[in-house]
């Protein structure tokens, strides 16, 4: 019968329309600024630098090895290595990044910097509300903006951060068993 196909299609639409008042899985809209969905654990968006202890400058895990700068596919990382060494959070003299810039407007959130970093110093953030009113360098993030504490890292990626801390503690224990207690980066400072 001509027209039956159209009518049965309309019935589906009607069922969906009425169903959206009763069934939750037919109504999937989230009223965004007021309601927010929780982001999944693995969600990634832009990188940040992890620091231990409370001091963002001294506790920075980054030793300016420049591996992430080299591997970054869109080349949005710019690092200038320090000339002197200063003690890091494990009291071991290390180089540190004098300048560490990431141009977030160039970054494509591929997570390769995180994968290649041998020091667990760079991780992916979950902040996505990053609109700026300026056109040019407002999204060029310097070291001070990028540095975020290990506590914050634990908040956004709890499982992954716990694993990283366990790995770091194991590596530290293996390297210097004598000063183990001192060297272990504390998980939740």
């Amino acid at each position: 019968m001509i027209g039956f196909g159209v009518l049965s299609g309309m019935a589906v639409t009607l069922r969906n329309f009425i169903g959206s008042y009763f069934e939750k899985d037919r109504l999937t809209t989230v009223q965004y600024p007021e309601e927010r969905e929780t982001l999944p654990e693995n969600y990634r968006n832009f990188p940040f630098l992890v620091y231990d202890t409370d001091d963002a400058e001294a506790g920075l895990r980054c030793v300016a090895c420049k591996i992430c700068e080299k591997e970054c596919p869109p080349q949005c990382i710019y690092i200038v290595k320090s000339e002197d060494k200063k003690p890091d959070y494990m009291a071991k003299p290390q180089f540190y990044p004098r300048i560490f810039d990431i141009d977030i407007s160039v970054c494509m959130s591929c997570q390769i910097c995180v994968e290649v970093c041998p020091f667990e110093a760079i991780k992916m953030d979950k902040v996505f509300e990053l609109s700026r009113r300026q056109r040019f360098d407002a999204l060029l993030m310097g070291k001070d903006e990028l540095a975020k504490s290990n506590t914050y890292y634990h908040q956004i990626h709890p499982l992954e951060a716990a694993e990283v801390d366990a790995n770091l503690a194991a590596a530290a224990a293996k390297k210097k068993p004598a000063v183990e207690s001192k060297a272990t980066p504390s998980a939740n400072t």
């Binding site: 001509i2 027209g3 039956f4 196909g5 159209v6 049965s8 299609g9 019935a11 589906v12 639409t13 969906n16 999937t28 999944p40 654990e41 693995n42 969600y43 990634r44 591996i67 591997e71 970054c72 596919p73 494509m108 959130s109 591929c110 997570q111 390769i112 994968e115 290649v116 992916m124």
Partner: protein, 386 residues
């Protein structure tokens, strides 16, 4: 002085004389057009409403993908492959990983192979679902079917997000395995979504597949003969809609596909309706593959521990890795000279090659059918222009 039209420049006479005093109307469809799936332009010469000549114009989204690939490291090209066909980043990842694995002779752990099959079939589901929605919205069923399709697609994209961290730019696979091991909860969730998917398919078929308007718009429109399809190198659902039994999952048997039982749906007429139904039938087969994969997936590592992804230097040589992407045969041809960058990096994009016969499909149909035919080809401009 009057401006010369594009076919005068080509010095080709229009193939038909017009009924209206020999004059043809030249229409430029796109690049800013809601039905061209991105920035794609068609220069059509119309006789009344009938298309007598059609010239696709593309390149608006050209991003130098292949040249970037030659200058990036093997690892660095992986996130760029997401941006080829941004609907199916997982299959793009797989095709690229497969060609690098062929180049360097890498082994992939069993669990990773199963995961790849699962993710590729999920990608096929969401690609075909959204294609059906787009196609119907091109035909004037504006909004509603597309939103139903996107509702299902979003569930699968949420799965991708919780696994890889990103909805569309997954960047999940690596040569020698996959990046993250999914938790058992993730697999359970995926299983639940796959089990609920037939409900959506039934509903969708009821919604529009039997609709008289849809049948009138699609049956006999844009007919493609099997000979032309084979000669033009058409692959994927478009080729199978002509009745040619060619599915790389069966022919090549890459990955673990020989371990799965599934049928390859074939069309009969090669028209738009067949191409549309092909997608609907393929989704059902994908669901079967997914069910088997969820049962068979073993525990174990997801990454080959011998592969170091950083400073990866494969031996000199060349390799072509190809997979059956949702849109057709997606291949990556890599030539290595032993350094950290590929010497040549070539993509064989299915939507670009399927698009080459657009004129043959459209000739003799009305200009309104051009959009329907273009929609049934299933293009993504990110892949066409690269």
């Amino acid at each position: 002085m009057s401006a010369t039209s594009f076919y005068e420049l080509e010095q080709a006479p229009p193939p038909m004389t017009s009924r209206i005093e020999g004059e043809l109307l030249e229409v430029s469809l796109g690049p800013q057009h809601p039905s061209t799936h991105g920035v794609f332009r068609m220069n059509a010469a119309l006789d009344g409403e009938i298309v007598v000549k059609l010239k696709p114009v593309f390149g608006y989204l050209h991003r130098n993908h292949e040249k970037i690939g030659e200058n990036a490291s093997y690892l660095g090209s992986m996130p760029y492959t997401d941006r080829l066909d941004y609907f199916c980043s997982m299959t793009n990842n797989w095709a690229y990983a497969l060609s690098v694995e062929k180049l360097a002779g890498l082994e992939v752990p069993e669990r990773a192979e199963y995961l790849r099959v699962i993710l590729a079939e999920l990608t096929r589901l969401q690609n075909h679902a959204s294609l059906l929605g787009f196609l119907l919205s091109d035909m004037g069923a504006w909004g509603t079917p597309l939103m139903y399709a996107f509702r299902e697609r979003e569930k699968i994209l949420d799965l991708f997000e919780s696994l890889s961290g990103s909805r569309m730019m997954c960047d999940y696979m690596r040569f020698g395995g996959c990046r993250v091991d999914p938790s058992p909860e993730w697999l359970q969730r995926a299983k639940k979504i796959v089990e609920a998917f037939p409900k959506f398919l039934d509903e969708f078929e009821k919604l529009l597949i039997k609709n008289e308007i849809l049948i009138a718009r699609t049956q006999g429109v844009g007919r493609l003969s099997a000979e032309l399809a084979i000669n033009a190198g058409i692959t994927g659902p478009m080729l199978r809609a002509c009745g040619v039994n060619y599915d790389l999952r069966k022919v090549d048997g890459y990955g673990f596909y020989p371990r799965f039982k599934f049928r390859v749906p074939l069309g009969d007429h090669g028209d738009t309706y067949d191409r549309l139904m092909m997608r609907a039938l393929e989704m059902r087969e994908s669901l079967g593959i997914l069910k088997q994969a969820f049962e068979q997936i073993p525990a174990g590592p997801v990454m080959n521990p011998k592969v170091k992804i950083r400073a990866f230097k494969p031996p000199a040589g060349e390799a072509y890795g190809r997979i059956e992407g949702p849109k057709g045969e997606l291949g990556f041809y890599l030539i290595s000279d032993g350094s950290a960058n590929p010497y040549r990096y070539r993509v064989r994009p299915p939507s670009f090659i399927n698009l080459t016969i657009l004129e043959d499909l459209c000739l003799g149909h009305t200009v309104a059918d051009v959009m329907v035919i273009l929609g049934s080809v299933d293009i993504v401009m990110g892949e066409v222009d690269r």
